[in-house]
């Protein structure tokens, strides 16, 4: 599949702070690509460099066949952007703002705009100063989704939306994907990324530390097994690849590395399995693998998310 976004070795400093430290990102045409990481990991900086709003100190950022910085204006005709914090002109109505942003991008389909206003339940006659954070977010989303574009750059686009609107958003992204639109979705809402993204990149301290489909990423980590056996399976503790083992009168709970799953299950079966529950690794566990030990303050936030 063609590579729509290709970032190679991006670096960016803000004064003494290093925001990006050699970031590589590859997004294929037609996929929904999740960019996961806590605040301050470099998600917004990456997207702003892709938009040509910031200039990378080093590395290369190409998208849609052009250079993110040099060809910014031409590229922006083919993409739409939704920031995480939306501030609007207080004396323009939501409808005026949607039209303005869409026209600046080259125009929007009025029927589509109308349909989106209805689905997101937005009153376009209200002045932007009366909108709540969620409604401002809707204005930016509708302006982006109403334009016929090839690429959507979404930076935590649903931060202020309620669960109903979150569902509408997810539906819209699926429809866009079906139409062949490529989506880069930065988020720290794991559930959203888990259901929407074809591939996921995990960003940490300005670098992509893992990229792949959820299945591929899962392969890199452990499955949780809870089993009741007829006789105590004491030998589990000696098996390679078994971790966090807890045992009590024939009840075992442990995590097992993906490449030891097969042998472990065979040995477990010898003890007479009465009940068995296997949890695939959640995205949360994937993230914790990268963040858990090193930066506890950041992961506290992720752990709190569903």
């Amino acid at each position: 599949m063609a590579e729509l976004i290709a970032a190679r070795g991006l670096t960016k400093h803000f004064g003494a702070t290093r925001a990006l430290a050699g970031l590589d990102l590859s997004v294929a045409a037609g996929e929904v690509h999740g960019l996961l990481g806590p605040n301050g990991a470099g998600k917004t900086t990456t997207i702003r460099i892709l938009l040509g709003l910031l200039r990378a100190d080093g590395g290369q950022a190409r998208l849609l066949g052009g250079d993110a910085w040099r060809d910014a204006v031409a590229l922006h005709r083919c993409l739409a952007y939704v920031p995480g914090d939306v501030d609007l002109w207080p004396n323009l109505t939501g409808g005026e703002t949607i039209d303005l942003l869409a026209r600046l991008r080259g125009g929007a389909d009025p029927a589509r705009r109308e349909m989106l206003c209805e689905r997101f339940d937005l009153d376009p006659t209200k002045k932007a100063r009366t909108y709540s954070k969620g409604n401002r977010q809707k204005v930016a989303l509708i302006a982006a989704l109403a334009s016929p574009v090839e690429l959507l750059l979404l930076d935590e686009p649903t931060a202020g939306l309620d669960p109903l609107m979150e569902a509408v958003f997810q539906q819209c992204i699926r429809e866009a994907r079906a139409e062949g639109v490529t989506v880069l979705l930065s988020s720290h809402i794991l559930a959203q990324v888990e259901v929407l993204a074809d591939r996921i990149s995990i960003i940490r301290l300005g670098q992509i530390v893992e990229t792949g489909t959820l299945a591929q990423l899962r392969h890199l980590t452990r499955t949780t097994i809870v089993a009741d056996t007829a006789e105590p399976a004491g030998e589990l503790a000696r098996l390679p690849g078994v971790h966090e083992l807890e045992q009590r009168n024939g009840h075992s709970r442990f995590e097992v590395d993906a490449d030891h799953l097969d042998t472990t299950m065979r040995r477990l079966a010898e003890h007479g399995v009465r009940s068995l529950v296997a949890h695939p690794p959640t995205l949360e566990q994937l993230l914790l693998r990268h963040y858990g030990d090193q930066i506890p303050t950041d992961t506290a936030e992720n752990r709190a998310r569903p």
Binding site: R48, L53, H76, P83, L92, E96, D99, L104, K127
Partner: protein, 556 residues
Amino acid sequence: MTATAAPPTPTPAAPTTVRAGPLVGTTLLARFVLRRDRIRLPLWVGAILLFLVGSAASLPTQYADAAERQARAALVDNPGVRAFTGPGFGLDDYTFGAIIVQELFGYTAILVALMVILLTVRHTRAEEETGRAELVRAAAVGRHAHLAAVLLVVGAASLLTGGLIALGLGSLGLEDVDWASSWLLGAAVASIGLVFTAVTAVTVQVSAYARGASGLAAAAFAVAYLLRAAGDATQIGGGTWSWLSPIGWAQQTRAYVDNRWWPLLLSLALTVLLVAAAAWLTGRRDLAAGLMPPRPGPATAHWLLSSPLGLGWRLHRTSLSWWATALLLFGLAYGSITAEIETFVAELVVLEEWMAEIGGQTLLDAFFAVIILLLAIIVTIFAVPTVLRLRSEETGRRAEPVLATATSRTRWAASHLTIALAGSAVLLLTAALGLGLSAAAALGDPSVLPRLLGAALAHVPAIWLIVGLALALFGLIPRAVTLVWVVVAYSATIGYFGDFLGLPDWTATLSPFAHIPLLPAEPFTATPIVAMTFTAAALIAAGLAALRRRDLTTPA
């Protein structure tokens, strides 16, 4: 838990042990307001003090003797002059004190009202609009505490301003400027502050938006000023209309002439009434809500709103039309007094020498030249914030969504820049049109109009130069854009007081306006005007080039 099975709830102990009145927290909030404005407040009070006391101190250099002051008094016979500043008391013996009340009090009132309106809105409605008041009110803070704290601080600032003005004027030791009258004048200044603090306390209840609340309060001030102007114009000493205005009451104290304290009782009564109304409204409305329901607007955008320039026009059109109206009226009013100027200036030795230095063909030309310069500097105060809107759009996250569309940085910046450049030219010509029209009518000489329009046009490149400087700063050192105000303040000081301050000649050359020939008094020379236009263009080009290369600084 179901309702039927609810166990007996213990009575909360808090209300019996903690004070819970509507004013709880007032002192703490007042200290908080003082903490936030520990720089802003002294600057305001200091600036007002400097304006009034500084101007009063310079009076002896402007009027050499009583005869010259009397010549000035003759000018006040013109209704237009009275409409501008005051009713005119003690015109038979036009002392320094009478001049202070007649010619300086009106402008001081404008400054004081501006201070109290902006401060009051900043700490009340602006706090609600941003949601910060919600945090405060969720604490153990009474319903009226916020408003009470702000009224205490701003009211105290008004009294302090009045008190310091009295001390300043009294200690100047000017002829006929005695202590008792100075205290009365200080009290009159303070009364303006108190009344318009109370007016603003009401307008912040009415509008749900800080800008709307300041607009309503400013409109109330404008109405009060116009009522006074109407009354003062109809009759020397003020007519019926003057007595309908709190500004009129303050002037009717006749400080330095008759010293009457009782008109201030009216101001005090109005203040109490308005504060009571504000408190009543606070108790009735929801937090963050106003009394005027927000009006819906168009669901789709007008075709004009399709480009950065269209957006810029939409954002600036209201301010532009208000500026145009105000400047047209300003020009008309100044033009209407031209006939009297000639006779007045003829009798004023100091001014005559100064105007001779400017080198006008006639004294009237010199007067026009000074007015045009004044208008050009005023228009700069429109142009600078208009171009600096680029910076507030950038830091306010509103530039990002525009620049993420197929809009180049140059095209985006050109929008606000074009409105600043074209707008300042249009505004200055509008002011000159007003001045020229009424001067032509007053003098019966239509040739005045084109000469004044030409003179105004010659000053436009100086404004453009300052706009160019603002844009260059925006591109090169965006954090430092406000520095351009230093240039504006410097140019204004040189323009107004340059000759009085006795500064060396080279200091004036740092002001762009000093290079423009003082038309129509001085002969026209194209070189400085062309040079300034090119410099402005170069600064703009440098600013745009730098903007294309730098990072957009938007908060995360």
